[in-house]
């Protein structure tokens, strides 16, 4: 039993003196999958980054030591030697980790060459294909550029990138947040059967998956680590019953004959659907089936090839800017990549305040809303309001993006995997808030892979091979 990672008494503090990690001890062992679960913002990603010798902005290591393969990754020379060769890292927002100007195959090839410079072209290619297979990434997708990948496909592409170097330590930050349950399990199981037996540290909010895949699971709470027992993934006792869909509800948003093409690829073919005012509709489908394409089209961010859109019975332009000019209703999009969705130079408070001002300007404002109140709805603590996105955790960023969208008082709200990186308590609080919006008459569309989220919706639309049912 070889210990690859040894963390002893690691304490990391933020600029204001609060401990992000508090005397953390952790062993990650070769050939084992170590799970790490815990509430949003509890320090999971900070710990993962420490294994790579990286501290986020404003963070300081005040005590403790980290050893990866017998060396301290905080030393620059060691860090350079470890990264990309001994350690592989899958970040939380995978699209940002891929170079948009190079195909996936080219990027995997580069990673393979850096790790093993002496290999010839054929061996490298075999290695790339094996990694794609291990990451459940269809070989046809290797030729695509990152902009042509869905969120889940990009996640698997970065995973393949992580695997291609056959690192001894694999650190995965929310590796399955954009994947449907079937693919997530297929990938999760594979970690324990990789032939070179790496040590795997898997951060996830999918407790059931971690329960199933991990050999040992640690739970993080307020920067403290404890061993979590089995069976933490038992179903919630009081899952709210699904409401029956009422047909006579006023239609908030309906679309007809929408066709979306990406170059020669036809992603969606003549799909139609409607969402009632005060209805919460789930959209499901396998990774890469066109859920995000449909969402972005409805929100006016990527006009489809053909189709008609009606909001409250009135025809509406497919272009968001034209909607603003014509005073047409606002359909808000909360994207999958929360890091890109937020302005890196802007605090959460200012982002929400701007949204409120925009709503007032367009005559949509609700007079009683304040920044603090909206933040509170999405479980954002007051001290988070004055932080910029790079000092928020992945889940906090998603909630900030949601709060910002809601503050603009949209007629319909489309959330693309907004709860995928949240722990269960926070997730249910966010869903309660969305439910409150729904009751106030906002149409809510939830794109999700999670069964638990799906049970909270009024009905489910499924995208399968370009059709919506």
């Amino acid at each position: 039993m070889t210990v690859i990672v040894e963390v002893r008494g690691l304490t990391v503090t933020a600029a204001d003196g609060t401990a992000v990690l508090n005397a953390v001890d952790l062993d990650v062992v070769r050939g084992r999958v170590t799970g790490l679960v815990g509430p949003s913002g509890s320090g999971k990603t900070t710990l993962a980054l420490c294994l790579l010798g990286h501290l986020g902005r404003g963070l300081r290591r005040t005590a403790g030591a980290v050893e990866v393969a017998g060396a301290d990754p905080f030393l620059p020379a060691v860090r350079r030697r470890l990264r990309g060769r001994v350690t592989g890292y899958l970040p939380q927002d995978p699209l940002g980790a891929l170079d948009p100007r190079r195909s996936v195959a080219a990027q995997l090839g580069t990673a393979a060459r850096i790790a093993r410079p002496q290999e010839d072209r054929a061996a490298r290619r075999a290695r790339v294909e094996q990694a794609a297979h291990d990451a459940a990434l269809d070989l046809a997708l290797l030729r695509r550029y990152p902009g042509q990948l869905s969120g889940g496909q990009a996640q698997r592409a970065v995973l393949a990138w992580t695997l291609v170097t056959q690192p001894e330590l694999i650190v995965l930050d929310e590796p399955t947040s954009g994947l449907d349950a079937g693919t997530a399990y297929r990938i999760g199981r594979r970690f324990s059967t990789l032939p070179w037996q790496p040590a795997v540290l898997m951060i996830s909010h999918d407790v059931a998956l971690v329960d199933d895949v991990a050999d040992v699971t640690h739970s993080m709470r307020n920067g403290r680590l404890s061993i979590a027992g089995r069976g933490i993934g038992a179903p919630m006792a009081s899952a709210p019953a699904r409401r029956s869909a009422t047909g006579d509800r006023m239609t908030a948003l309906s679309f007809e004959d929408v066709t979306v093409r990406h170059g020669p690829l036809c992603i969606l073919r003549n799909v139609s659907g409607r969402v009632g005012a005060g209805e919460m509709v789930g959209i499901r489908g396998a990774s890469g089936s066109g859920k995000t394409s449909l969402a972005r089209a409805l929100c006016g961010l990527a006009p489809p090839a053909t189709g008609r859109l009606l909001v409250r019975g009135m025809p509406v332009s497919w272009d968001a800017v034209a909607r603003v000019r014509a005073g047409e209703p606002y359909v808000a999009y909360v994207g999958q990549d929360a890091r890109a969705a937020l302005n890196p130079r802007e605090t959460v408070r200012r982002a929400i305040a701007r949204s409120l001002v925009a709503a007032a300007r367009q005559g949509r404002a609700r007079a009683t809303w304040s920044v603090e109140e909206i933040a509170e709805r999405f479980a954002l603590a007051p001290e988070l309001l004055d932080r910029t996105p790079d000092r928020l955790s992945g889940g906090q960023r998603h909630r900030a993006a949601l709060a910002r969208a809601v503050a603009a008082v949209p007629t319909a709200l489309v959330c693309d995997e907004s709860t995928a990186s949240l722990d269960r308590d926070t997730e249910s609080r966010v869903l309660d808030s969305l439910d409150g919006l729904r009751r106030d008459g906002t149409a809510v569309l939830l794109i999700t892979h999670s069964d638990r989220v799906a049970t909270r919706t009024d009905r489910i639309l499924t995208i399968h091979q370009g059709h919506l049912r």
């Binding site: 350079r80 990264r83 990309g84 890292y89 990027q107 603003v324 890109a340 701007r354 925009a358 969208a405």
Partner: protein
């Protein structure tokens, strides 16, 4: 700050101070002959005398300010025009207007700087105006192009698009989304144009354009005194060195002042995955 950075910082500030405050510091009249031509350095004249026997030190101290002022005014005017046209071309929804604005600017870019300078100097009465005008006209196409490209990339980001989609006012979007992200590129670009404007102002002096004959100008000093370089090289070497230091120093100062101000942020990106290094 490392000692080396401190040294470069001190040096570039020193050149700027000499150029701007020089005319107040010199005790000798820079335009009156005080000795024979090309006399070597002595106690009374630390840098010797120039072609007409005037004190070189006094002329060095006197000859920088006009140069810097011309360059600074040209840079500021160029930035104002570049930002206005560049931002306008990137932000407008009227594609034709944007295309013709950029085409018009490109048409100006085909004229060589020196040709423009000669034509403008012939048209405008003596003084710095011709030099400033030529610098502005020459540098504006560059500025417009850079600003437009950067702005196009900035407004295509997810957060800028969502601000547009939810109906933020133009001024709000400019202030919070566009300008903060544009500032590093705009400042760097202004720095390059400043250096180019200094060069053009020095060239104008070398060619005898701009402010008329007796006025000192580092560029003109190089030209006037090159005949006597074997007798007293200082009247050529000192202004030439100062010109070089000024160009290097301004870009360095700009980086040094704006870098921490804008805050270089470390982001978790491809670097951690291990491909870029």
């Amino acid at each position: 700050m490392t000692p080396r950075r401190l040294a470069v910082l001190m040096m570039s500030s020193f050149v700027l101070v000499i150029a701007v405050c020089g005319p107040w510091l010199s005790a000798v009249d820079p335009n009156t002959p005080v000795a024979g031509p090309f006399e070597p350095s002595s106690g009374a004249h630390p840098l010797g005398t120039d072609v007409l026997g005037r004190d070189t030190l006094a002329r060095v101290l006197d000859g920088g300010r006009a140069l810097i002022m011309q360059a600074a005014v040209a840079t500021m005017l160029g930035s104002v025009i570049g930002l206005t046209v560049g931002l306008g071309a990137a932000l407008t929804r009227r594609r034709t207007v944007a295309r013709f604005a950029v085409l018009g600017v490109d048409a100006i870019a085909v004229f060589p700087a020196i040709l423009l300078l000669l034509v403008l100097a012939a048209g405008l009465p003596g003084g710095g105006a011709a030099v400033v005008a030529a610098s502005v006209v020459v540098s504006v196409p560059f500025s417009v192009r850079v600003i437009r490209e950067c702005t196009t990339a900035i407004i295509a980001t997810e957060h800028a698009r969502s601000a547009w989609a939810r109906g933020d006012a133009l001024m709000v979007r400019l202030r919070h989304d566009v300008l903060p992200a544009l500032a590093p590129a705009a400042l760097a670009e202004a720095g390059i144009r400043f250096v180019a404007a200094v060069q053009l102002a020095a060239t104008a002096g070398f060619l005898g354009l701009g402010a008329s004959a007796p006025a000192a100008n580092w560029g003109r000093m190089v030209q006037e005194n090159s005949a006597g370089i074997t007798v007293n090289p200082l009247p050529v070497l000192v202004p030439a060195t100062l010109l070089v230091l000024l160009a290097v120093g301004v870009t360095f100062l700009l980086d040094h002042i704006t870098g921490p101000l804008l805050g270089e942020r470390d982001r978790v990106g491809p670097d951690l995955v291990g491909v870029t290094r």
